[in-house]
Amino acid sequence: MLELRGISKRFGGVVATDDVTLEVTKGEVHALIGPNGAGKTTLIAQISGVLPIDAGRILFNGVDVTQLRTHARVAAGLARSYQITSIFRRFTVLDNLALAVQARSGSSFSFWRPVSAERALYDEAALIANEIGLGERLDVVSSSLAHGEQRALEVGLALATRPQLLLLDEPMAGMGPQESQAMIALIEKMRSRVTVLLVEHDMDAVFRLASRISVLVNGRLIATGAPAQIRADAEVRKAYLGEEIAA
């Protein structure tokens, strides 16, 4: 579904991603792990089109999307969530989600008819709100949601674009154990519909969810494989996993 061929990015002298070649196949939850500063978020930004790539190509469903801008990649079915919550803070939960639904349903170069009259947008937004566990919080302004709820909305916004491939950048960042469990359950629930590329530090979650795992260290991909394979990989243990697996 997604093919990265030799993706690189330099910031001055610093290599953020270095010749990354990776394939995400349809239907899998593919986890991307690695120590802090390994280039995971840079890679997500490159895949979503926020950061230009210095070298390499990105193919999505066999089509070269390297030159497409972010919004065009979203239209093609490639959506992302952010590590640092990025929602429309002044909007209510329902308005946040309705906006994301609006982005993919019909032209928004419409200047006269009130958007609030479009029941279909809000009905679908409410369905998504239910799915992410915010069904009771529709009219709450999103800036006053609890942290875990904001994280759920963060993922909900990406989900509302009805992607084929969802890039989740540390969805469990800053969450307590209970909130993490809810997020894991949400990802479990949607994995039948959407392919996921998951960046996450919570190894518990990674090993519970991932069908395959790729390990990024200093911008280079050092291993890709099934969870058991990664767990056993000597180089990975040395570079990153050691302490957490030993514990």
Binding site: T70, H71, F88, S108, T161
Partner: protein, 319 residues
């Protein structure tokens, strides 16, 4: 909506009241204020709703005025031709300036819009055949039929009032439409708006062009107001004045531009026309420095109402 209708009924009665007390001068002043209200409202669309701090809005206002002025001098006085031309030229200018400026953000955007507007200002100042520094005098107001000129304070006032009502209603519809929702979202979180699939640049550019077109209409009106087009309409001080009106009235509120224009121009007029005894005994020529006095009053208003005057009404309603 009820409140809006009440305001417009009062505004419609205003000339009749002035006629009764022999104050027709105020009808002309009021027309001027209403024209500035249209211009400030158009800036409020980009600045308040769109979150684009354009410091060059005078370019579109002035361009609209010069199109009407130049056409009038060249013998084309029909409002049916000149006004749409003014709107089209202003929109085109906004398209070109916006297309380049909107690739920048923050302070760079402020500076580049300012720079473009000043370029246009200097172009018109150097057009000696169309008045240059001295400005351009028109043979008279625009015509709507062979022998019908838009003269007379009454007719003119009501025409301007009707156009303001139209602009406000259109803006009201626009900000609640799909497009308006996207513009609101972009101001709130531009990166995320792009990341859920909106081509942000196109929306911002279109918003900029619509605002430019409305400013062009206001320019066409201001040229007709006194049948004279001054290059100062294009000057950055004009952009600043419009910006002050928006901030004073209420950034991102429907009535912000109207309130701001009324308060600012009303104040200027008040300070210049009414001599305050005790102030004059302290500083006899204070009225020659009306700008300073206006500035002081504005400072007080802004400190008391950080969200603009429209914000005061809103808070009271929610309390």
């Amino acid at each position: 909506m009820k409140r809006a209708i009440a305001v417009f009924v009062l505004l419609a009665l205003f000339p009749l009241a002035m006629q009764a007390v022999d104050g027709m001068f105020y009808v002309s002043l009021a027309s001027r204020i209403l024209i500035y209200a249209i211009a400030a409202t158009s800036l409020n669309l980009v600045l308040g709703y769109g979150g684009m701090v354009s410091f060059g809005h005078a370019a579109f206002f002035g361009a609209g005025a010069f199109v009407v002025g130049i056409l009038a001098v060249e013998g084309v006085r029909s409002a049916w031709i000149a006004w749409p031309a003014a709107i089209a030229v202003a929109a085109l200018a906004a398209l070109v300036i916006g297309a380049m400026s909107l690739r920048t953000r923050g302070v760079y955007f402020i500076m580049i819009t300012l720079a473009f507007a000043q370029m246009i200002y200097y172009i018109f100042v150097s057009l000696k055949s169309y008045g240059g520094d001295d400005g351009l005098s028109m043979p008279g107001r625009s015509t709507v039929a062979a022998d019908v000129t838009l003269s007379g304070d009454f007719l003119w006032y009501y025409l301007v009032l009707a156009l303001l009502a139209l602009v406000l209603y259109a803006l009201h519809r626009l900000v609640h439409s799909r497009f308006g929702r996207v513009i609101d979202a972009i101001r709130e979180n531009e990166a995320r708006a792009e990341a859920i699939g909106f081509p942000v640049y196109r929306y911002k550019l279109l918003c900029f062009v619509i605002a430019g077109a409305i400013a062009g209409l206001a320019g066409a009106l201001i040229a007709n107001q006194s049948s004279y087009v001054s290059p100062s309409l294009l000057h950055w001080i004009q952009s600043g004045t419009l910006m002050i009106m928006v901030i004073l009235g209420g950034v991102g509120t429907l009535w912000g531009g109207v309130i701001g224009a009324a308060v600012l121009l009303g104040l200027e007029h008040l300070i210049a026309d009414y001599r305050i005894g005790w102030l004059a005994s302290l500083a006899p020529n204070y009225q020659d420095h009306a700008g300073l006095a206006v500035g002081a009053v504005l400072l007080i208003i802004v400190m008391l109402a950080p969200e603009g005057i429209a914000g005061l009404f809103r808070r009271r309603r929610h309390a």
